[in-house]
């Protein structure tokens, strides 16, 4: 099976698959013409990677998860640990984004959004010390 079909079956673009090979996540065979030759097991791995990436695992996480997946004597605790660490990072990101969201939505709600220059959004972004006066004093 060539790269395009493998990609369609796994739901990944060909470019991504080449990248996954480059970083050593998969090792498809090669035909005599140099084309990558994907086995069912390769497509299966690609599907695994696609799902892991969709859950936000990094490539390095994927590498670990894939090796655990293929290790029949794995301990589920090892898998769980990877997942828990990732969950913690997701929580951190969500918290950071929600802080931004809270601040920003408040500011947006306060902004008239008309043709006048008064704007609480800019006022909040501006540091507390006054902007440099570009006015001449009479």
């Amino acid at each position: 099976m060539n790269i395009k079909e493998a990609g369609q079956r796994a739901g990944l673009p060909a470019k991504t698959i080449r990248y996954y090979e480059e970083v050593g996540l998969i090792r498809p065979l090669r035909d005599s013409n140099g084309y990558r030759a994907f086995r069912e097991s390769d497509v299966h791995k690609l599907g695994f990677l696609g799902r892991a990436r969709a859950l936000g695992f990094t490539i390095e996480d994927c590498r670990v998860l894939l090796s655990l997946y293929e290790d029949q004597s794995r301990a589920s605790a090892d898998v769980k640990e990877v997942a828990q660490k990732h969950l913690a990072q997701i929580s951190d990101k969500i918290a950071a984004l929600q802080t931004m969201q809270d601040t920003l939505s408040h500011l947006v709600a306060c902004c008239h959004g008309d043709d006048r220059p008064d704007c609480p959004i800019l006022a909040d972004l501006a540091p507390p010390n006054p902007p440099p006066p570009k006015l001449r004093k009479p």
Copy 2:
């Protein structure tokens, strides 16, 4: 004022300030020795940028916001529009992360996390078609 002091006052590392100059967000003067010479107005802009970046605005957003900030004849609607678009992106990111979080926390809760290989996390990552049998059939 040299770059380090400007950075301390604005709460930004010197490297970041050099980068901001490189992309044209600020244009500090230069001393005769080639050192950047920061005015109060530069430090003020840097503070603005730091806050905008902390709210997750991209550099390009910052460029727009800064020009609006300095334009006394701006319309607050223009500021609001930038902020609202950004808010929408934040919401999208949060939603995507929460989907991951929901899926993953469920899986983690289901995983025994012991020394046995059974693992619902890996089971969920694996595509539905069965893994390649590496067993010899008798």
